[in-house]
Structure formats: C-alpha cells, structure tokens
Symmetry: C2
Subunit: 214 residues, 2 copies
DNA sequence: TCGCGGTGTTTCACACTTGAAACAATATGA
DNA sequence: TCATATTGTTTCAAGTGTGAAACACCGCGA
C-alpha cells in the first residue's frame, strides 16, 4: 500500500499493537497472525493488516508476523528508537508527577529540565531534575539539546508559554492546560484536556442511558 | 431540533463554549452572537448554533445569546450543577497530583477518598484526603456516597481494579493506566492514555512534515 | 505436488462529522 | 412600519473512518 497520508488514528493503533506484541513476546511466543492478535486483544484483524500495510510488508503469508521483527519495525516507525530530551514548564504538582513518570523513559523520552516563574522553586531539584528560571528557557533549551516541551502551567499563561517554546525552536509540544492553544501548522501540539473529559463524565451521570463510548 | 442522539464531540464542544462564556462574563459582557463567539475563539458559528439547538432554543433571534442565561443552561446540560464524590485508586504521584487538582472542584467534583494497597500509605493523608485500604473499597464507597472513580494504579492492575469499581456499583470511571480496559456498556469509561499521546509526538518527530493536528 | 492458512490489496457500503448555504422566523432599533 | 441582525432548521457535498468481503499470492507441511 505505502500510503503517504497516514491518519493519526492509525499511528495510535500502532501504539496499541506494540503493547500487545510486547505482552506476547514476554510470554515467549515467536509468531502471531492478525486473527489471533485481534481475538486476543479485542481488535479487528482487517484493520491490523491495513494499518501495518501502510508502512511496508512485514508479515509472512501463511505464517503471520514474527513478533520480534514486527516489534522492531513498529518501534522504528513510531520513532521510539530515537532519544528525545523533554522540558517541562510549570514545576507544580502535575509537573512533578510527570517528571518522575515512567512512561517517559519507556518511550525513550528523558526529562532534562523543569522551568518555573516562582523564585522559591527555581534552583531546586525535583526527582533529580533541576528547576530553571523560565526567563532562561531559550538558552537552556539550546544548551541541553531539548526538542520536546510539556506545558504544565495554569491555563491563563499557557498561550504565552507556548509562544516562548516555539520561539526557542521546539516543534513538539504536549499541553495539559485546559485551554485550546494556537500554533503554526509545523508545530505538533497535543492538548490533553482533563476538564473536557471530566465534564463528559458529568454529562453522562446527569443523563445515564446514552453512553457515547470512546 | 431536539435530537436525542447527541455525539460526544458535541458535548465536548459544549465544554469549550462554557469556558468562552465564562471569559466573556468575566469581561462584563451581557450578550453574544454565535458569530462573535466563533470569531473570537476560532470556532464555527454554524456549529455553535447547531450544537446548542440540540438541547433547546436558548438564543434570541436578532440579538444572540444572553451570556448568563446560556452559561446556566450549559452548566445544567453538562450536569455541572450536581455534586459528585470521587474516589482515586492508587495513591502514587499521579493520584496525589489529581487529589489537589483544581479542575475537580471547578467541575463540582470532590475527591472524597484515596485507595492504595501499600500498607505504608494506608491511613495517611494527602491534601487532607484519607488513604484507605483498597480492600475496604466497596464499604467506603457506600459509606461516603462515592459515584465516580479514577484509576491511577500501574497498568497491570488496572483491569482488576476496574472490576472492583464496577462491583461496587460505580458507573463513571476515568482511567489513567496506559491500557485499554473492558467494561459493560452501561459503564462510562474514559481512558486518558499518555503513552499513546507521547508516541504520537515521537512519530511526528521521526517524520516531520505531516502534522495530523488534533 | 497440493491444499491450507494467512497476508496484501481492493472494493464497497455505512456511518459520522464538518462546513457551507439557504431560508423562514423573529427581536430590535431607526 | 421597515430594515437589519441573528437564530433555528434543513439540505447538501465532501472527507474520513470502519467493517466486511473477495481474491490473488505465497509459504509451509502433508
Ligand atoms: N494537578 C493535576 O493533577 C492536573 C491534571 C491535569 C491538568 N492540570 C493542569 O496543569 C496545569 C498545572 O497544574 P498544577 O496542578 O500542577 O498547578 P500548580 O499550581 O501546582 O503548578 C503550576 C506551576 O506553574 C508555575 N507557573 C505559573 N506561571 C508560570 C509561567 N508563566 N512560567 C513558568 N511557570 C509558571 C507556578 O509557579 C507553579 O509552580 C494547570 O493548567 C492545570 O489545569 C493539572
Ligand atoms: N506519574 C504520572 O505523571 C502519570 C501520568 C499519566 C499516567 N500515569 C499512569 O498512572 C498510573 C500511576 O502512575 P504513578 O506515577 O502515580 O505510579 P506510582 O507508582 O507513583 O503509584 C501507583 C500507586 O498504586 C498503588 N497500587 C498498586 N497496585 C494497587 C492495587 N491493586 N490497588 C490499589 N493501589 C495499588 C501503589 O501502591 C502506588 O502507590 C500508572 O498506570 C501510570 O502509567 C502516570
């Protein structure tokens, strides 16, 4: 197939497949067919084959997929074989929780620096990571080779912080402030808006019956 | 219109509208047209009118919407006028950050109890909230009138914890463990999977050019 | 050598979302 | 009274995602 327009839903599913393969590899299995994978993890076998075929021919007809091989392929496709250095802006409770988040290391991301505007926090260490003054952001980004930023400041400062991040030349940003942000098209911005998720739960509780499953 | 099949995307947008209205109210404005709202917050005016019309006729032709009135209506639609009591299972770093999360209070959610399996944590207080033994989950849920649960335990325990939650009669669950969970259709389960979001950033960094914006 | 199993690929139907356009209805203000 | 502004509603086109089906192709084992 080798489509060049890959939907984000496809790459999200690749993440899922990768986890499933890790589990299977852990159990010592060597090969798996799209059908077995689908049955085992409640997925759709046609979808799996279609998704994988976007990136090349990884399977062996009549056999299925070699688990180790496919793991390596997906790891490469998702860029998980590259190391990335992360800056977290906002050394509050969320920033602290994220600094120590295992998911970062697992994904080959390393939290290299925290940034805050509060003089009491600047200079301190959180899980062995130094908190810098946000005024020095661009300088430290360059010095530390940071290429990913996480926004964990209150919503009203988020847009301004995003602009500083973009000015510093960073292209990939994850935003936890509950507000939509504006950025150019060449910036990958992912907003994780807990408030919307919460209000969606609230809506369900007020009107049980219709679920609207994810 | 009064459609009875409301998409989750619609209610998510209601959350956004509510925030915008709060901002406008804060500025002292009294009315707003769908057009002004759209221009100001980079939305689509037709969409706004359509979304609102799903739930009734809130606007005044020739005028627009009365901000205070519309705020109350959306608050009611989203069920934000009802109080909810939340249990967080997993009193780790994420659980602690969430316990003190302002977004809960703002949404009329109150963290009533934490649960953990670690004897060192059981009995302690985190932001004035007591940590209970997860063994007593059902009992405390009943006693405290808890109706919402948050899963903040490692992924391998998440499914088991979910089953205890469902057994205790809770219908609304937010899951932060990076794994898809299975539940009956009458349970509202929202999974916030940071790993997938991270891997999506990683994919972008490995292949700049195509953005796949949220 | 041949059949079975499973991939790679195409095709189709269906559902959902969006955005635009059109228009009747209606409140406000000149 | 009448023009204007704006909602509520319908309709349509386009894009996208999903799931099923069909089938050629190919590797493995009997
Ligand atoms: N706590 C949570 O569990 C949680 C969960 C999801 C989302 N969030 C969101 O994450 C953000 C942070 O939440 P929190 O609970 O950690 O808040 P917090 O108040 O604990 O931390 C915010 C930090 O940002 C710093 N800050 C403020 N303005 C800044 C600026 N201009 N530059 C750099 N640093 C600045 C503050 O000094 C503070 O240390 C909020 O937008 C919140 O809505 C929090
Ligand atoms: N730390 C973060 O910023 C972050 C962000 C997103 C998602 N997550 C996810 O949230 C979960 C928790 O992350 P964390 O960083 O807080 O981990 P953590 O290790 O700090 O906390 C996990 C807690 O769960 C408790 N626990 C384990 N098994 C339990 C059980 N069966 N019943 C009750 N409690 C149990 C442990 O005792 C521990 O206190 C993980 O799945 C993680 O992937 C964490």
């Amino acid at each position: 197939m080798k489509a060049d327009k890959i939907s984000e839903l496809t790459t999200n599913r690749l993440s899922i497949y990768l986890r499933c393969l890790n589990e299977l590899a852990h159990e010592g299995r060597k090969t798996v067919s799209s059908d077995r994978l689908a049955k085992r993890f409640h997925l759709n076998s046609a979808q799996i084959r279609k998704d994988l075929a976007c990136f090349g021919e990884f399977g062996v007809r009549g056999v299925g997929y070699y688990i180790e091989d496919l793991r390596e392929q997906i790891t490469r496709i998702l860029g998980l074989d590259h190391h990335h250095r992360v800056a977290i802006i906002g050394a509050g409770r969320l920033g602290a929780a994220l600094t120590d988040y295992y998911g970062f290391r697992q994904t080959n991301f390393e939290v290299a620096a925290l940034f805050d505007a509060d003089p009491d926090k600047i200079g301190s260490l959180i899980s062995d990571v130094r908190v810098f003054d946000v005024k020095d952001f661009a300088k430290i980004v360059k010095k530390e080779g940071i290429d990913v930023a996480v926004i964990a400041v209150p919503a009203e400062y988020a847009q301004k912080v995003l602009e500083e991040i973009v000015d510093a030349g960073i292209k990939a940003v994850m935003n936890f402030a509950p507000t939509p942000l504006l950025a150019d098209d060449d910036i990958k911005l992912k907003t994780i808006d807990l408030t919307i998720s919460l209000e969606s739960l609230s809506y369900f509780l007020a009107r049980p019956g219709k679920n609207g499953r994810e």
